[in-house]
């Protein structure tokens, strides 16, 4: 084979063209590198650097809690150096419910799933209860479920006309019932399937109870499902210790408190809620938020269908000592409708307090008792005791 190379040609020419060639090449490469903004180095060096990059975010990435102790910030609590535990902060509200013969309870598989039952005779049938902060509202959720079995969406009027069932003892839940080919996430497609579900919102969470599976099982077990819904109650958090311990709050919260005798003390259900206390029909919720007194008071007034208070009226509200400062007390009676309640409950009393936590960057704590008028009235002393027991962890 003849062997030749371009070299002959290149050397035949003068060295000048070589230099030009190299020059052009160097220029081209450096231009390219510059054009592409290629930075082969490792970023800033030396002892001082400028913060150059900024970004406009539509919302804050994470809620900031000034003064949060490091252990809580990194999520290790009392259990050191265990990343798994650090991450798994289950938002589980345990529920209790009636006996379900023929059904087997399975461990919850998703953070929001609290009850997960499968039907023994046909494991494709599944009953789940999930509770979390609402996403998208009743209408979207109803139509999402209907969509899962290929049913047409309903208008808001039609949704308002859907039947209601008892859930959690008092709340009236919208009952969704639709049949069609159901595509289960776990099993295959169920041709004659369906979904039977109930959605109810309260101010703490929206509860989704969903029964899916073959249509035949759904119709056969429909009454049992309704019975199940009626029997469903938030249970005691098993791992949190008993409410009797005056241990002052929960390791997850930056607040400390002493639970009054006779009240249940339940784990938080959302990241805005620190604690829920319950006795009989009265529920006291403890929350952390940011904001001023007036908007909160007026939100409460709205929930009781009262007229908003003006500045003077707010200033005239009574106070009680708490956390080394004064808590503003608001009390009202009326038909109560929480943010996520679909309809109002009559003759309810609200007793609420706002305290601006000192040296906490404007963070406020709210304590709110709601329930039948007389019962809340009888809880006044416990409410005051709870309020005065509030403190900030580590202070």
């Amino acid at each position: 084979m003849k062997q030749t190379e371009g070299t002959t040609r290149a050397s035949a020419r003068s060295g000048r063209s070589t230099a030009i060639g190299l020059g052009v090449l160097a220029l081209g490469v450096s231009g390219l590198v510059h054009l592409s903004g290629l930075d082969l180095g490792s970023g800033a060096s030396g002892p001082v650097a400028m913060i150059e990059a900024t970004r406009m975010a539509s919302a804050a990435a994470y809620p900031a809690v000034p003064g949060l102790p490091l252990a809580e910030r990194i999520g290790v609590g009392e259990k050191p150096s265990a990343p798994q535990q650090a991450q798994a902060r289950p938002d589980v509200i345990p529920f209790v419910f009636c006996d379900m013969p023929g059904w087997t309870a399975r461990p919850p598989v998703a953070p929001f799933r609290h009850v997960n039952l499968s039907f023994d005779a046909d494991p494709r049938a599944e009953l789940t209860v999930a509770a979390y902060e609402d996403r998208g509202g009743l209408e979207a959720n109803v139509n999402r479920w209907r969509g899962q079995v290929g049913a047409a969406p309903l208008s808001s009027d039609q949704i308002a006309a859907l039947p209601v069932v008892q859930v959690l003892g008092n709340g009236e839940a919208t009952l969704v019932e639709a049949y069609g080919p159901f595509q289960g996430m776990r099993g295959g497609r169920i041709e004659e399937g369906g979904v039977l579900g109930a959605i109810v919102s309260n101010e703490r969470f929206t509860l989704f109870a969903k029964f899916t599976g073959p249509e035949a099982v759904l119709t056969a077990e429909r009454d049992r499902f309704i019975e199940f819904l009626g029997s469903l109650r938030p249970g005691q958090a098993p791992s949190r210790g008993s409410s009797a311990s005056p241990s002052a709050g929960d390791a997850e919260s930056i607040l400390t408190w002493t639970t009054p005798d006779g009240w249940s003390d339940e784990a938080p259900t959302s990241r805005f809620r620190e604690r829920t206390f319950r006795r009989g029909g009265v529920e006291i919720s403890l929350s952390l938020a940011r904001g001023a007194v007036k908007p909160n008071v007026n939100r409460w007034a709205g929930e009781l269908q009262m007229q908003p208070l003006d500045d003077d009226a707010v200033a005239a509200l009574p106070t009680l000592p708490s956390m080394g400062t004064d808590a503003v007390i608001f009390e009202g009676v009326g038909p109560y409708k929480g943010m996520r309640d679909s309809s109002a409950r009559a003759d309810q009393r609200m007793l609420a307090a706002i305290v601006t936590i000192p040296d906490a960057g404007g963070t406020i704590a709210t304590l709110k008792a709601v329930g039948p008028s007389a019962e809340v009235g009888a809880s006044r002393a416990d409410f005051a005791a709870l309020l005065s027991s509030l403190g900030v962890r580590g202070r």
């Binding site: 190379e5 903004g37 406009m56 910030r73 996430m185 404007g362």
Partner: protein, 414 residues
């Protein structure tokens, strides 16, 4: 190489454009690819990519032997020059070499595309439950330190320090970061590629400063880069150095640390790099279609609504092999959950990429194919002509398959 160039410059130029260098670089790249692939078993793709290809030199592992090889930067840099000088400038330009030159141009285009991609592209993902929406995507591997005014809830201005600016801080090294808008400086030190917090009590001698009873402890890198969680010690210096507060940040829990300065609270967090999208995406419905009677997905797709800042909405269907392209971004159906055999609320994982040279491979492959085809056909016609010429003679040697060979060889023969 009958005549050697005489000047030094000329010799360098000749060497840069030589076949010798081309072969050496190809063999080196081959070795990098081969040994890198084998080492992925122990080190994972991301780390091998860093060590073998995004490097100047690499200590490659070949079975029991370790050897130094030029890394990706050197190889690709020389390769580019070799291609330009040898394959485009010095190559003889005739009708016969036209195809080869075109193919070389195609390869150069691809390398340019690769360079642009390497320098400017961003990859990440958005995880959406049905009904949920988001207007930003999170990178898989890169991290950043972010600072913002803790009282802002919407329209938050974030000040960012990319990981590259502090990932060289080992031991007592520290670097001070300033910005006029911020009433404090941050001093960063002790960067950890992967780490976990550990309680000082009962852990023997702490390997890093203890803050509120805890310190960060280095962990070996995971094979999957995504499972590495960064850590960093950070101190805020306020009021002209009068006050210094120190703590550490851990990427697994990006809940911000707050610093009070200038009468306000500032949040500081270490998180995966986040990029804004020019629109927000809301997942309406995720659909997974299984092979009948099995749990193996035949296809999966997401019905998504694209919401622009002005409020206009547009319904989009994203599925495997059919991404959404808009605003310089490409959004792919990447994955879904919950995993097979588990129940739970369905969610969809959308991969997002911002790559300006997205279409370059298409152009390059077309150019290369065109070039090679040109070379082939040119030789084919010549072959046929020649065969016709010597039809009478017995053409028993030579093969029909040598036309490509000849075409390529012409480059040298000429």
């Amino acid at each position: 190489m009958a005549k050697k160039p005489t000047t030094l410059l000329g010799r360098i130029y000749a060497t840069l454009g030589s076949y010798w260098l081309a072969v050496a670089l190809l063999v080196n790249l081959f070795l990098l690819t081969w040994l890198g692939t084998l080492e992925q078993v122990d080190k994972g793709i991301h780390r091998v990519q860093e060590e073998y290809f995004e490097s100047w030199w690499v200590l490659a592992k070949a079975g029991p032997v370790r050897m130094w090889l030029p890394g990706g930067y050197i190889t690709m840099g020389l390769f580019t020059m070799n291609l330009l000088i040898g394959g485009l400038v010095r190559i003889r330009k005739t009708r016969r070499t036209a195809g080869v030159i075109v193919a070389h141009i195609g390869i150069a285009l691809m390398m340019v595309g690769g360079l642009i991609e390497h320098a400017t592209s961003k990859y990440g993902r958005v995880l959406l439950f049905e009904g949920q929406s988001d207007d930003q995507f999170e990178e898989y591997a890169g991290w950043e330190l972010v600072i913002w005014d803790a009282s802002e809830r919407t329209g938050v201005t974030e000040y960012l320090i990319p990981e590259e600016d502090f990932d060289d801080l080992e031991g007592d090294d520290q670097r001070r970061f300033e910005r006029d808008e911020l009433p404090f400086d941050l001093v960063l030190s002790r960067f950890f590629h992967n780490c976990q917090p550990r309680r000082a009590v009962g852990s023997g001698i702490p390997t890093a400063p203890v803050v509120e009873d805890y310190f960060l402890e280095a962990l070996p890198r995971e094979i999957e880069e995504e499972r590495d969680f960064r850590g960093l010690y950070v101190a805020a210096v306020t009021e002209g150095g009068a006050e210094v507060v120190e703590t550490f940040l851990w990427g697994r829990r990006p809940i911000p640390w707050t610093v009070e300065a200038g009468g306000r609270d500032w949040a500081v967090a270490l998180r995966r790099k986040v990029h804004s999208m020019p629109f927000s995406l809301r997942l309406e419905k995720f659909t997974k279609d299984d092979h009948p009677g099995m749990t193996m997905a035949r296809s999966f797709s997401s019905d998504v609504t694209k919401i622009f800042p002005d409020g206009t909405e547009e319904a989009v269907h994203i599925r495997m092999n059919e991404p959404l392209r808009d605003g310089g971004l490409v959004v792919y159906q990447a994955s879904y959950g919950p995993p097979e055999g588990q129940s739970g609320e369905p969610y969809s994982v959308l991969a997002v990429s911002r790559n300006p040279s997205d279409r370059m491979p298409w152009i390059a492959v077309s150019v290369i194919a065109l070039g090679l085809a040109l070379a082939m056909f040119d030789r084919l016609f010549e072959f046929i002509k020649r065969e016709r010429g010597k039809r009478d003679r017995a053409a028993s040697s030579g093969s029909g398959k040598t036309k490509v060979a000849d075409a390529v060889r012409e480059e040298a023969v000429a």
